[in-house]
């Protein structure tokens, strides 16, 4: 698995995401966070792994980890169709702008998230929002659960095949199912 930006021109500069070599590491970091948040983009219904859509992997993960989900684009409808209620939904830019704001008290009004995860946005959009957070919320920890390396995140999985991605998500879900959050 490579740690080059998936889109060739998306070159990072001086600060580059730490690679997540094993899904167990991601699980440990999520468990360590007290107020994690997962932002899910429109590719959630465009990516298929082993005959199952990404959104279904995400729902399994969210149910197991209890991490609140913010759906972007029209994904809220897709979640609701599957019987999952996201914590909130808004445009990707709106949630990005809120995360940058240190006074924002999170979706539930009880405090700013200390770990913001992304999955399933168009690669370039996700890269730009992560760049915005890197620059304007430098203390904010960010992580991507995609199979494409994102240099602007704090932590990112390296580029991986769909099979590896499916396995990563399944392992993460199973680790939460085993031990709870």
């Amino acid at each position: 698995m490579s740690c080059e930006p998936w889109q060739c021109a998306e070159i990072a500069a001086t600060k580059k995401a730490n690679p997540i070599q094993k899904p167990e590491i991601a699980v440990a970091m999520i468990k360590k966070a007290s107020r994690p948040l997962l932002i899910v983009g429109s590719n959630a219904t465009q990516r298929w792994m082993e005959g199952k859509q990404l959104i279904d992997y995400i729902i399994d993960f969210a149910n197991a980890s209890k991490v609140p989900v913010v759906a972007t684009a029209h994904m809220v409808g897709e979640f609701l169709k599957r019987g999952y209620q996201p914590a909130a939904f808004m445009t990707a830019m709106d949630i990005g702008q809120r995360v940058v704001d240190p006074t924002w008290q999170g979706i539930d009004g009880k405090g700013h998230p200390d770990l913001v995860m992304f999955v399933g946005l168009p690669y370039y959009m996700e890269a730009l929002i992560l760049s915005g957070l890197k620059h304007f919320a430098p203390d904010q920890k960010t992580m991507t659960l995609d199979n494409l390396y994102h240099p602007h995140a704090s932590w990112s999985f390296p580029n991986a095949t769909l099979e590896e991605w499916a396995n990563n998500l399944k392992v993460m879900t199973s680790k939460f199912n085993e031990g709870g959050q």
Binding site: W6, Q7, C8, A9, A12, A13, T14, K15, G41, S42, T72, A73, H74, V76, G77, L80, K81, A88, F89, T91, A92, M93, D94, G96, Q97, R98, V100, L121, P122, Y123, Y124, M125, L128, I129, S131, G132, K134, H135, F136, P138
Partner: protein
């Protein structure tokens, strides 16, 4: 207003007072002003004149920056690492640097439109004279140049008057760009304000260009019945010699069309165009054809049907000469701004140039005389067409299979593709004899060619995609309405009231380029959805082409299905890029003609009116260029929200409102001076949307304005709720923010909305006479 340079010379004159010899008297300008409207407070604003207004908007809609690059490398102090709050050697931080990039983009865009206008106006003055009268719609258009009147305080009457307007714009754009120099502006919001100013200049420059060409070249004049034009390669008779014009400036094309008609060859050849030159060709000659948006020029050139390629300016692929050479099509560069390295043959005999092009001795030439461009292009096309007909320019399907076998599946093509298209998988299938996955890429491919640049095997991937999609490409035959130009005063009088009161739910302007995330069908779907809901849908540029590229269940294109007037349920194409000014012009004219607000040099008041009362939204679903940035900036400055598709996020800065911060949504009630909270209307000034479904929901919401009557608000909410339920599967969570009184609630939705209001502890509020400007308060608060 007319201005004249006066020069008096007296060699010898005897008077009672004595003898006068060799007297020369020069007067810079004599101003003859018969425009009775009083001058407003800000004629010809300088870069800081409207700063207070800009800051009001920027305080309401704060920039959200997403830097594309962590570094600044604009001066030799650098590269400077600006990551996470570090300042560069000049002292600039990443916020200011990000806004500086926005300013640079908007200045480039404004300079491009204004330089285009300068070329057009100078050429037309030379041809028709300075006193040629402006006429953009006969008796139906008395407010001929609303943007120019508003910004400059000038009411242009002749071509010569436009000269002065452009001189002002040129100076302002120079100031804007100069502010981006190292060690000039240092504050991000001041950079943003200057970007707004560049947008204002851009709108004036565009308006000047379009009203000059409408007036002189007899384009459709505010005509809802502007001709329907055939569009697509399938509409082109490929047995005839074909000239393809690419770019934005119609002047060389006029030379081609005139020469072709004068030589009685108009039945014997085809003149087709890409992008705005295509539109303006059809506005001049309704038998010209449009082949499609400019972003896809690579596929149109590689399809090989053009015998001669004529390029003018803006958005032309800079490797077009290489591409045209591959299909043995000579290139004529016809703009000083885009010489492409060709030898300047302007002063050579036409027949000699034709011989050189037809024989292949030179792949292209630069000709800066439009009449000569016409003669050379027509003669070359006629001579070279029979030779080129013998060429096979695309690989055969068997060759596609063989070429695909050379793919090493390194994934670099996909990783270089802006769309992340699954090219390696499609090539693998093609190598195995299944062309279908490659064909499926055809619609989504934007034709940038980055895949080929990345391929270590030098596979002509784009050509393989074009071949796989050849059947679709060659069968594209649709209809697009030629650009109608301005919106007439008569139309404004008919719809001004219903728009401002909210009874027409909104104006949706679908504009800009073709860098779409999933092909052009999304543009068609969005336009059709809102036209069916009786919004006014205005199109321009490449988006106008995409809107006309699909058909309904009855086989009708959008322009056949809906009327072309500025009316509820109308779909009107104003024309090329520079015709975007008519969209801003229509908004300005509502304030002037319907609301009787003075235009002249009265920018703040008119922008305040538009921002608070006019439910207009721009959608640039495939915006890619700096010109699109400056066009958007002109609308931001007027307080009109603009949405971009997902690739538009690469403009790297959004202007976003915060619906969760009530203090952001306060306006003055001009009647009382009271501060009233109106809710997030409109919620954003510049926003990226990810999918067409999200775009539709956002459009409906962004048409809401503080001034809506209860009836208008109820109508707008019903559209918002309906689209939200359809695409998001639930009620909007923010509905309580848009209900001011129970009368605002759509009657059929009362049972759903009232419980939500109770749950949210909703309280009734007043409908204000909204303004952001304290000076507009009629009764000052005690």
């Amino acid at each position: 207003m007319t201005t004249k340079n006066v020069h008096v010379k007296i060699d010898e004159m005897k008077t009672n007072a004595g003898l006068i010899k060799n007297l020369e008297l020069s007067i810079g300008k004599v101003i003859s002003d018969n425009w009775t409207e009083p001058m407003g407070p800000t004629p010809m604003p300088h870069i800081s004149t409207l700063r207070d207004w800009d800051m009001k908007l920027l305080n309401k809609y704060k920039p959200f920056y997403m830097p594309d690059c962590d570094l600044c490398c604009l001066c030799t102090y650098g590269k400077c690492d600006l990551t996470a709050g570090k300042r560069g050697a000049c002292g600039l931080d990443i916020g200011a640097q990000s806004s500086r990039i926005v300013l640079i983009a908007c200045s480039i865009g404004a300079a491009t439109h204004t330089a285009h206008a300068r070329h057009v106006v100078d050429h037309l003055i030379e041809k028709y004279g300075r006193r040629f009268p402006l006429d953009v719609g006969g008796l139906n258009v008395k407010v001929e140049a609303p943007v120019t009147r508003l910004v400059t305080g000038i009411k242009p009457e002749t071509l010569g008057d436009l000269d002065e307007v452009l001189t002002y714009c040129e100076a302002q754009i120079t100031h804007c760009l100069s502010a981006a120099h190292t060690g000039q502006e240092g504050n991000n919001l001041d950079f943003e304000s200057k970007a707004f100013h560049a947008g204002r200049m851009d709108q004036v420059g565009m308006e000047v260009a379009d009203i000059a060409q409408i007036s002189t070249l007899n384009f459709p004049k505010a005509d809802p019945e502007a001709p329907l034009i055939r569009m697509g390669i399938g509409s082109v008779d490929r047995t005839k010699p074909t000239i393809m014009c690419i770019g934005h400036n119609v002047v060389p094309s006029v030379g081609i069309i005139d020469y072709m008609k004068d030589s009685r060859l108009d039945d014997k050849m085809e003149v087709v165009g890409l992008c705005c030159t295509a539109f303006d060709n059809t506005r001049y000659y309704d038998r010209a054809k449009i082949v499609g948006p400019i972003s896809w020029q690579l596929k149109f050139v590689r399809a090989g049907f053009a015998d001669v390629v004529v390029i003018d300016e803006q958005c032309v692929r800079t490797d077009i000469f290489n591409e045209a050479e591959k299909v043995k099509a000579p290139v004529i560069a016809a703009s000083e701004k885009n010489c492409m390295g060709f030898k300047n043959r302007t002063n050579d005999p036409a027949d000699q140039i034709v011989d050189d092009l037809v024989s292949g001795r030179v792949p292209g030439v630069l000709i800066l005389d439009p009449d000569k461009v016409g003669e050379v292009a027509v003669k070359t096309a006629v001579k070279i067409a029979p030779i080129r007909r013998k060429l096979n320019v695309l690989p055969s399907l068997e060759q596609v299979k063989e070429i695909a076998k050379t793919c090493r599946h390194c994934n670099l093509c996909q990783r270089s593709c802006p769309q992340d298209l699954k090219i390696p998988a499609a090539l693998k299938a093609a190598a195995e004899g299944n062309i279908a996955p490659l064909t499926a890429l055809y619609e989504e491919c934007i034709g940038c060619g980055r895949c080929e640049e990345a391929c270590p095997q030098k596979i002509m991937i784009h050509s393989l995609i074009v071949k796989a999609g050849e059947k679709e490409l060659m069968s594209e035959d649709n209809l697009c309405r030629s650009g109608r130009g301005a919106v007439s005063d008569v139309e404004i009088r008919s719809v001004g009231g219903p728009i401002v009161l909210g009874e027409i739910p909104g104006i949706l302007a679908v504009v800009g380029c073709a860098n779409y995330p999933h092909g052009g069908k999304d543009v068609y779907d969005i336009c059709r959805e809102f036209a069916s809901r009786r919004y006014i849908v205005v199109t321009s540029g490449c988006s106008a082409m995409s809107a006309g590229s699909y058909r309904n269940e009855e086989g009708k294109t959008l322009y056949e299905e809906f009327p072309g007037g500025f009316e509820a349920g109308g779909v009107l194409n104003v024309g090329s890029c520079v015709a975007n000014s008519h969209i801003a012009g229509a908004a300005i004219k509502v304030a002037n003609i319907f609301a009787k607000r003075n235009l002249r040099g009265n920018y703040e008041e008119i922008a305040d009116y538009i921002h608070n009362r006019l439910g207009a939204v721009g959608l640039a679903w495939g915006a890619y260029s700096q010109k699109a940035a400056s066009i958007a900036a002109g609308f931001w400055s007027l307080g009109v929200p603009v949405l971009v598709g997902p690739h538009g996020s690469k403009y790297r800065r959004m202007l976003l409102g915060r619906s969760d911060k009530p203090e952001n949504w306060e306006v003055y009630d001009a009647r009382t001076g009271e501060i009233v909270n109106t809710g997030p209307a409109p919620e954003h000034l510049f926003q990226t949307v990810e999918t067409p479904q999200e775009a539709m929901v956002q459009i409906a919401k962004l048409c809401i304005r503080p001034n809506d009557t209860w009836k208008g608000r109820a109508g707008k909410l019903s559209h918002y709720i309906d689209l939200h339920k359809r695409h998001y599967g639930c009620m909007p969570p923010d509905i309580h923010m848009f209900v001011r009184t129970t009368a605002d609630i759509p009657i059929t939705m009362k049972d759903e909305i009232v419980p939500i209001l109770k749950e949210k502890n909703w309280k009734e509020s007043v409908i204000p006479d909204p303004t952001l400007l304290p000076r507009m308060i009629r009764k000052q608060k005690e």
